[in-house]
Amino acid sequence: MADKYVSPPLTDADVEGLVAGDQVYITGVIYAARDSAHKKLVELLNRGEELPVDLRGQIIYYVGPSPAKPGRPIGSAGPTTSGRMDPYTPGLIAETGLKGMIGKGSRSAAVKEAIIKHKAVYLAAVGGAGALIARSIKKAEVVAYPELGPEALQRLEVENLPAIVVNDCHGADLYEGGMRKYALP
């Protein structure tokens, strides 16, 4: 477990260097998308149409920010529960080359398999620390689906956004390992 600094687009080698429990700081561009945006992206994929953004090597942050106060790039912006994106994630990883997901909470077996098979990584940001996390987000712009309001697909420019590796491409799972380590009889 160590501190790691990454900037998307991520390569296979970048992802292989991330291990469950690592504290990661992300700088560069990431994409904000949650339930409805995922549904729309996967519908496009299923119809063989082009996505509004090229996700190769990119990171999606599962977040529906609160509205920005005047003069601010974004409102509070902590992670939402990742499990709701599980039905869409394996397809996105396999077909677009998506490399990273940031959220909170457990992933399905199918997502974990896709992470191993296609060399991707699942990270958790601290749920409930939305005001703190927002300080790492320097710019936010809607790139698709503005009608979805807080669920729109957004392009975020981030500086040292903190997240911790939960599922790495080597098959380790911080949630399972952490619970085993600290459980008492």
Binding site: G21, Q23, V63, G64, P65, S66, P67, A68, K69, G75, S76, A77, G78, T80, T81, G83, K104, G105, S106, A124, V126, G127, G128, A129, G130, A131, L132, A134, R135, L148, G149, P150, P162, I164, L174, Y175, G177, G178, M179, R180, K181, Y182, A183, L184, P185
Partner: protein, 280 residues
């Protein structure tokens, strides 16, 4: 008979929505501080530190502590000698929510239809629970409830043979199944007795109690303590990264129940046990 204007209700609700989302109660902050000392897991400690820093930023900048500013759950304790003038009471509550969520830059999370409907755009309607009480005052409590932790809540229709052991098992299983999803450290509200819907409401009301204030009933206070200890042995820890602080408190409310029933409801809340009250 005392008159309260609907405008006063609108203003009160609008302020409470914002205050509840910006300022975490001192009771919760104190328990978080104490938990930081008790947590042995390094990533767990780091999470609690981030949560405490987040609480200060939110209050200082008047931004919501969490982007999920919740369903506006509103409890109205309406004195039976109060007359509301100027409009329908529930319209006033919803107007207050509309103003509070708009003026406070809070997220609007309500869909007009539960099956894929459009966002209502102003976080209405509120979920309103009214209790008629003696007197000529109106106490309004706004308790914004986030979706992530609400989704991990459960109702179990146990039967009397299950007893206290069955209740404890159900609570523990619900928390274990929730794992990292509801943003631990969590606050666990439990309702025992009544019937199907009463148990769920009791569990929600349990979340409004000052954090770690024990139940006035000794046997229930003991069960709260025992459950807190057992939950914190699960090892889930802050954010599920592993640790000893999975829950900050367990609060239980009870109600008499049918000879054939033992309903139990578990309402899970994240650390942001947000609620603010005012009496008009």
């Amino acid at each position: 008979m005392r008159t309260i204007t609907s405008d006063a209700v609108i203003e009160a609700v609008a302020s409470l929505c914002q205050e509840a989302n910006f300022y975490l109660g001192d009771d919760v902050k104190e328990v978080l501080q104490k938990s930081l000392e008790e947590e042995v897991s390094p990533p767990g400690r780091d999470v609690i530190k981030q949560i405490l820093a987040n609480v200060e930023i939110a209050a200082g900048e008047q931004v919501p502590m969490c982007q999920d500013t919740g369903v506006a759950v509103v409890f109205l304790d309406l004195g039976q000698d109060v007359h509301v003038e100027g409009g329908y009471l529930y319209d006033a509550v919803n107007e207050g929510v509309r103003r509070g969520y708009t003026e406070g830059y809070l997220r609007k999370s309500m869909l007009g239809h539960p099956l894929g409907g459009k966002n209502t755009g102003d976080n209405t309607p509120a979920v309103i629970h009214t209790r008629i009480v003696p007197g000529d005052k109106l106490t309004i409590t706004v308790a914004p409830k986030g979706g992530g932790s609400e989704n991990m809540s459960a109702v179990g229709m146990l039967t009397p043979a299950a007893g206290a052991e069955g209740v404890k098992k159900f609570v523990l299983e619900t928390v274990k199944k929730a794992g990292p999803n509801p943003c631990p450290p969590i606050v666990v509200g439990v309702g025992i007795g009544g019937n199907f819907e009463k148990a769920a409401l009791l569990a929600k009301e349990a979340l409004l109690r000052p954090l770690r204030q024990p139940s006035p009933q000794p046997d229930i206070a003991e069960m709260e303590q025992e459950l807190l200890t057992e939950i914190n042995k699960l090892g889930i820890g802050p954010q599920g990264f592993g640790g000893r602080i999975t829950a900050l408190a367990v609060h239980i409310e009870i109600f008499p129940c049918h000879i054939a029933s033992l309903p139990v409801a578990v309402n899970i809340n994240c650390h942001a046990a947000r609620h603010r009250s005012v009496t008009l």
